[in-house]
Symmetry: D2
Subunit: 350 residues, 4 copies
Amino acid sequence: MYFKSDNGSAVHPMVMDAMAKANQGYSDSYGDDLIMDRVRDKVRDLFEAPEAAVYLVATGTTANVLSLAINVTPWQAIYCHPLSHIHNDECNAPEFYTGGAKLKLVEGKDGLIPASALETAIASSMQGDVHCTQRGVVSITNLSEAGTRYTTAAVRELGAIAHSYNLPLHMDGARFANAMVASAASPAELTWKSGVDILSFGGTKNGLMGVEAVVLFDPEKAWEFELRRKRGGHLFSKHRYLSAQMDAYLDGDLWIEMATSSNQKAARLSQGILKLPDASLVYPTDGNIVFASMPRARHRQAMEAGAKYYFVSPTATTNGPDDEQLAARFVCSWSTTDKDIDAFLKLAQS
Amino acid sequence: MYFKSDNGSAVHPMVMDAMAKANQGYSDSYGDDLIMDRVRDKVRDLFEAPEAAVYLVATGTTANVLSLAINVTPWQAIYCHPLSHIHNDECNAPEFYTGGAKLKLVEGKDGLIPASALETAIASSMQGDVHCTQRGVVSITNLSEAGTRYTTAAVRELGAIAHSYNLPLHMDGARFANAMVASAASPAELTWKSGVDILSFGGTKNGLMGVEAVVLFDPEKAWEFELRRKRGGHLFSKHRYLSAQMDAYLDGDLWIEMATSSNQKAARLSQGILKLPDASLVYPTDGNIVFASMPRARHRQAMEAGAKYYFVSPTATTNGPDDEQLAARFVCSWSTTDKDIDAFLKLAQS
Amino acid sequence: MYFKSDNGSAVHPMVMDAMAKANQGYSDSYGDDLIMDRVRDKVRDLFEAPEAAVYLVATGTTANVLSLAINVTPWQAIYCHPLSHIHNDECNAPEFYTGGAKLKLVEGKDGLIPASALETAIASSMQGDVHCTQRGVVSITNLSEAGTRYTTAAVRELGAIAHSYNLPLHMDGARFANAMVASAASPAELTWKSGVDILSFGGTKNGLMGVEAVVLFDPEKAWEFELRRKRGGHLFSKHRYLSAQMDAYLDGDLWIEMATSSNQKAARLSQGILKLPDASLVYPTDGNIVFASMPRARHRQAMEAGAKYYFVSPTATTNGPDDEQLAARFVCSWSTTDKDIDAFLKLAQS
Amino acid sequence: MYFKSDNGSAVHPMVMDAMAKANQGYSDSYGDDLIMDRVRDKVRDLFEAPEAAVYLVATGTTANVLSLAINVTPWQAIYCHPLSHIHNDECNAPEFYTGGAKLKLVEGKDGLIPASALETAIASSMQGDVHCTQRGVVSITNLSEAGTRYTTAAVRELGAIAHSYNLPLHMDGARFANAMVASAASPAELTWKSGVDILSFGGTKNGLMGVEAVVLFDPEKAWEFELRRKRGGHLFSKHRYLSAQMDAYLDGDLWIEMATSSNQKAARLSQGILKLPDASLVYPTDGNIVFASMPRARHRQAMEAGAKYYFVSPTATTNGPDDEQLAARFVCSWSTTDKDIDAFLKLAQS
């Protein structure tokens, strides 16, 4: 019953095997390993993007901030949602890597930016007035921090708006796999075919040890990306072990299999919670994250029996009136089992 | 016969085993794993520094730049050797992480900063003149980029000078293990007892997959370090796999065993080269790196038979007059064998 | 009828005279001029702050960003109003000078931050969570960008909240003089006695050529301020001409005389506008700025006759339906005359 | 007898007059004043560069760092002389404004970079190796910090080398006027016709109050320059007073007249010193700066009688053996008189 985060889960055994297999003899370093050549091809095939530049980094923050840094100048704006990871959870890393670009928050329901709000935000930026933050880049998260997803149509609409202002569109896909499997769309359709120019293609939260690919659908700034990655300290000498992870991830659709499983568990959890008479969902459950509100007594029961997850409010605790509604976040991972879900539901129900 | 770098070698099997062992069930993330608690204790014990703050990062550049960043302001100087890794091989990462501190180069033979040169460099910095770069931090590399080492006495002398100006002393110990085993000194004697305030304690070049510890002997800036690590994108969610590496590294003196082996191979190589009638060492061989000069014909023979290493001059190639002397760098790792060395020597001799 | 900005006005003749008088013979440079010694004493006397550090810079942006930079780290937040100059009108200069601190917007009526909103904003910052922006500094503008002012009591309340979290309070006083004369309080009461730790004490908008003083009521970071000023390119070699301006400003209460006049003109304008049947104020007129809404026809008439001022909406023009209400900003300066005001009102009325 | 610096001198009366004349009525701010239109035309005419972008800033540091910032990325090198102002006298401002570019020092006699040394420095930069600082921009100072000048031929040679590597050439012309009048060349010949891409065209050291023009011979990055100027806090609201200074500077060749005078005074001083039996020049006197070595006794005599200038060594004083040779720097300005020179020489001789 570990629902604190999908990054609390272990690494999938097939990924571990691939790393062990890579651990043979010598290899050129810093991305010149042979496995990386294969990974690059696989990612390009997967996204139907034969020209794309593909790079691996070890953390999601890194994938995001390098992606943004090559697409924005220090006097420009990054349009993003108030709930976005780049705004709330990266300790000002975007500001650091971009040299001081400003995150402009675009409100929207359920963690998603509506097209109209994006249009308004960009339009109202006083482009060409030297006193004002200039327009820079749009960043959306799919699966969002609220556990909701952008449909292909929604991405396409946002991409069209961004492009109408000549702005690139970045997708933080730390949980791209979860958004993907919830969709009927192909990776290409959910990204560049809908206007995404650069993708943080997450692996760590979905069964890898620590690898995110960055996919530059337009490779023009590939060399700048490489320099920024190195300058940030993010170029790995023993890079083959990053390559091996991503190689295994894409092998036989392991990544889809894992995300499908975690989404199913979340759906099971979500449905179970909705059967409680006094519980409700805070956001729709589109992927592997459930935001639900229940009386404190139910939380207390589950937590005291060992269920691990966070309240949405950082100051909320199990101490207090039994019937006070408290919102909480539950994240399922590839290794979450039906047994975990059912055990939790049983506790919460009782 | 792979001598390009020690980071071309594989990960030691015991380290892989430790990672596999860590791959069980759920774990809190971002450094809150239980293995890290053990690692912290081990490092403190090893260095006889019960108060030290200990952090893990994945690359040597990161260890260095975070160490420097908490010890220097943007208008100050980092005193370092012209051959230092932070000056030559990190794509301006120190300038990035420090917000623009200036690397002041202090010349010295064999990649080492002499005490007198350091004293002169610091003294001549016009401290208190608002127009001039102020004094900041001293950074030395042990084992140095020339493959030479600072003795404990040498470190002590440099530490005394730095401290006489109230400057901290940073040691880039990407190859600290190799310097250590070449010395009769303890880890504590080679570091804080001789004036080192912060150490980049390398593991990646010595058999790990990608882990460096940063040891803050004075923990005062520990929290700032943590914030800078996160802001740089260097805090790993699945941190347990970093912890497991360092845990295995320090287990049963594996780290010393590996460095002892790589130093021995380098000594064997060095001695073999010196037996050639027309070869010479560029720098003394103190650790696991050999810089040697030989006629091109010998290099050609070895390289064409599969020996892999770099010429010192980036423009040198095997094409050209046979008898032209060309300097090259050979790096031995934990996995280098006597057989590798002897095979190379045989080729070079013929 | 020039109401575009108070910085469109000329320099007061007495200030010009003082500069001409300073233009004699040689003077040590970079702030070592003798006039600066006098200015420092005058500012300290004025603010009853004998220990304060006092510096001159030439632009308001500079005064603000240097003040912020010594009071916030790159991973912290600057709490400010959505209308604040540092957020809207400085092209990301605060982010640049602070190394990437984040401006957290605290909403409030009429351009003013209410105490309760500040408390909530600070309290909800997840201090101590390494992923999150840490608490940094509070910045308020007095006179605000809406032309409204913080009373002494309001400042005291905000100061108390900031200090209860150990955060410093910065006051952007680009129009401090206008706030002052609207108040019964002394300079000391409106600043450090109410909790202001550092003040941008503006002069340029109130009759100087280009000088703002920065007053550090706590001089602890004075040397850091000097280094940051130099590193920003803001230390003037021929500093005596900055000193001379501030010297004249404080001479015989010239600064108060000028602000009193500009406030009176704004009041006259405000009252005149309110007499129009279809006009209203957008914000109360506390100082020298009037925000008023009138039908387009009135604006058109005034503008076509030569009145110069800006619509609030950057896209608004005189073209369009006559009766559409359009908000506009009118700024009075020391050189605005009753005749200007009356001429405008006459036009708008007709 | 004030020879500490040319920035210790007053402002030329004609410049003061122009500022007073500009002090009439209202003017649009931030560079939209009408005088600036005239200045722009004058500068373009002067340099025979009708397409050039022309901007005014108030300090030499600002002119330099903004010029560099638009011509270098944070992972690149700025090639400059070890004596250069940008390296020694700007408190790491170039690193700040460029986001951490590295100043690579290119040695050369008399404060000048020889073509061969520049070629070697650039060639040895490992362009395309992601670990290494990439090639960025070349910056030379004319008149140099040693008081020497680059001939047109020398500039042309350096420009050709820079351009052969596709690097721009920046000229720090804080004392461009002094270099100009020492030359038979036109402003255009000494700059863009010889390969200079961007010029810091100084005025402050040559009789202005505080204005430097930046001339972008290629206007492609003009808008970026404007944004960086604003973001640095260097865009003046009451810009007309900067414009007025530069307007007067270029009026009737006032700038040339002033520089001619200061160069003549330096020549007179230099020749006088050389007549002393035990004095010598440290560098040739090409412009308005004299570096000379004399016995301490002579310095003592002059200084005690009121001559003001600096020893080259910051630790040198008038206390010590009479006959010890001490180098000193003497700077003449537009207001230096023959009487000043002769009075000093008389003292030094006695």
